[in-house]
Symmetry: C2
Subunit: 429 residues, 2 copies
């Protein structure tokens, strides 16, 4: 077949999947919470029962990745073992335990004319999830979507193709064993990249697309999608040490925010320090970070402040203030006052997570109110911006959008509220 | 200047406006509710004080519209009189009386590690409102945006150019008299259509665009915008008369839904009637509608049902079931059973407003749960889907999107919630 013919065939297949998902989504939306929970339980059972098959499929992907010369970090992300399969099953059972968001009625109030007006929480409809590398996302994403009554179309990374297919087969079995139509969980059965483009044009049948992966993937989806996108781009997170900070606490929070895990979106990338405490705070902080293997990049005053300590610090470039390092690198800037910290954050933040360390109540409150990020924290580690840590029970990602959902996307973020009206013949005059 | 030079000049002007709005938006966002209310009060004062100027500006638009041969209905929409100016001022004062949505903290709960996690309501940032004809939208939109802490860029219809400029001048005076920067209310000072395209490319500085107007405008904005859009497209609203309906009530609700005002998005366009009650219900209903000047278009069974009555009814085309008439026209279809009504709605609804008339509790509940529209009603007129009628106090439009806000867009729809965390040194382990 010519390239065009292949593209057309893929496009036809993708449209047909999207149409089947749209057609079956209402059946799922009106199923009971018990049926949706049973589907998740059965999915977990199937994953554990099919462990051997999953490991074999994963081995095919690992072999191909090795031959293709994939970076060791990527191969590591790709790897499934018994513990990873158990974790997927456990994750699904944790979602079962969460309250059913669907059908919840809130704010039902009686209007002066006697009719009641309220809101009912309902599924969004059909979701497309486009993701990379980690095959466990397959189970997480399906669990959250089915629990929230949404049909789902999966498109995993081509390097995890066999693993994803094997996992998805278990998940579809779970769905059908619970009596739901198989079409509410579909997995794109081709590693061809043209399939993503075709999927992003299915705005007639798909309600929302969620990309999970690197910046390249997310930017491609944003560029091409005719479907609304729930996304998160960079996490350029700031921790600001105020002049009224408890410096011992500030040291722990900075170290935890930066080093607890470095390749994640809620890691602290930029440290701002009030000039009044820089001389006391920065030398021991820098020494500790350096000892732990963290590279330091400082503004000129930071470099001067650390000059006598022997801790290596390179001059930060302008570019550093706008970089998500995703590595053991910290950029440090000394600010003259609180408002300069706010101004730096306003100019450079990616609106993901910002932290202030202070004992001053008014500054804490101003920081909370004025910093415009998905999560704003007082005296806590930036690493807490996470659906599990916030008590949502699970998450599909962390949104840095402002519309619809901001911060961790849990079950509620996968639903919407429609208005309901209960009347007894009310007319508008 | 060449066309290209004009376009470049307009684009530069629009970008500069958007940048100024973005720069000043944080000042507005952190202003107190008292200051924002004072701005709205002053706007109302200025509109009343400048009544003569507004009427003169409006006359210029009316003269131009007459010369251009605009349709009388459009000229009517354009017209301002003393009552319309008073209504704008009153509308602003009604918004003053609404509770301040900004800064509200909800769901603040203590996590097991002792930190509190909750959500704070904040403005979206910078809004662009693109609208047609009615100049009173200028005041409504600015009132809602300023109350909710959002900077606003207005782009009204070119036929209302002088009226909109005069109204906006009053509104900017109100803002500055309250001590807020003038740049939080800006009005595009050119009737050139290229300005809309330039505005829709300002995704770096503008957070949301809301089109208010006809389908052509909304589709253009959806096509061109790189900024997220809150929109509503068609209102193809259904009223379904169930076999268990109170037929006297059904008659009133149908008549009110269709005829109370016909050129609006929440008017009933399609009437579905259960076959068991069609013979009793349709002949008197059709006679009453016909008498009031409503054209009837029926399915074959409806035509047969009305044949002996002498009430004229034309055969409905397939197209009619998917048409927003915005006129005194009603398409009528007899369905065999409740599920056929649901299926018709699922296939043809624009997800705006659907009504069931029934005394049966289970059918009422199924309709509420299963019909996927911005408002779903039992025994009430479709005309109630409206921000004022629902108790939101005001509205920016009615969203048929599912993401972010569904149904009437009031103050809450112009805000978002960020997470806040109050800790005392919590670290992630």
């Amino acid at each position: 077949m010519s390239n065009q013919a292949v593209d057309d065939a893929i496009s036809t297949m993708v449209i047909s999947m999207a149409q089947r998902a749209r057609q079956m989504a209402p059946l799922l939306a009106r199923s009971s919470g018990a049926v949706r929970n049973r589907a998740l339980e059965r999915m977990a059972d199937r994953l554990l029962a099919q462990q051997q098959k999953l490991l074999e499929a994963n081995q095919r992907d690992l072999d191909a990745a090795g031959e293709a010369g994939l970076a060791p970090a990527l191969i590591d992300r790709l790897r499934l073992d018994e513990a990873a399969i158990m974790a997927m099953a456990t994750g699904l059972r944790q979602i079962v335990a969460l309250p059913d968001p669907i059908g919840e009625i809130s704010d039902l109030r009686v209007r002066p004319n006697g009719m009641s007006v309220g809101r009912m929480r309902v599924p969004l409809g059909v979701m497309a999830i486009i993701y990379e590398s980690r095959p466990n996302v397959t189970a997480d994403a399906v669990g959250l979507c089915i629990k929230s009554g949404n049909a789902i179309i999966l498109r995993g990374g081509s390097e995890a193709y066999h693993s994803n297919q094997a996992i998805a087969a278990c998940l579809v079995e779970g769905v059908t064993e619970a009596g739901l139509p198989a079409e509410v969980v579909q997995c794109l059965a081709t590693p061809d990249r043209a399939a993503v483009g075709a999927l992003l044009r299915c705005d007639r049948w798909i309600d929302v697309v969620i990309p999970r992966g690197g910046k390249g993937l997310i930017e491609r989806v944003m560029q091409e999608s005719r479907i609304p996108v729930i996304k998160h781009l960079d996490g350029i997170c700031h921790t600001y040490i105020d002049r009224y900070a408890d410096l011992a606490m500030a040291m722990e929070l900075t170290f935890n925010g930066k080093m607890q895990r470095v390749a994640v979106c809620n890691a602290t990338e930029i440290l701002l320090v009030h000039q009044a405490v820089a001389a006391d705070f920065l030398p021991p902080m820098a020494a500790r970070l350096h000892q732990a293997g963290c590279e330091l990049r400082g503004c000129p005053r930071t470099v001067a402040c650390l000059a006598a300590t022997g801790v290596p610090v390179v001059a930060a470039t302008e570019q550093d203030w706008d970089t998500e390092f995703l590595a053991a690198i910290l950029a440090i800037r000394i600010v003259d006052h609180f408002d300069e910290a706010l101004a730096h954050i306003a100019a450079h933040s990616s609106q993901h997570t910002e932290v202030i360390v202070t004992r001053d109540h008014e500054r804490a409150m101003r920081f909370l109110r004025e910093v415009d990020s998905s999560a704003v924290m007082v005296n806590a580690s930036s690493r807490f911006n996470d659906g599990f840590q916030f008590g949502l029970g699970a998450e599909m990602g962390i949104s840095t959008d402002k519309l619809h959902v901001r911060g961790p996307v849990g079950l509620e973020g996968l639903t919407c509220q429609k208005y309901i009206v209960l009347g007894h013949g009310q007319l508008r005059s």
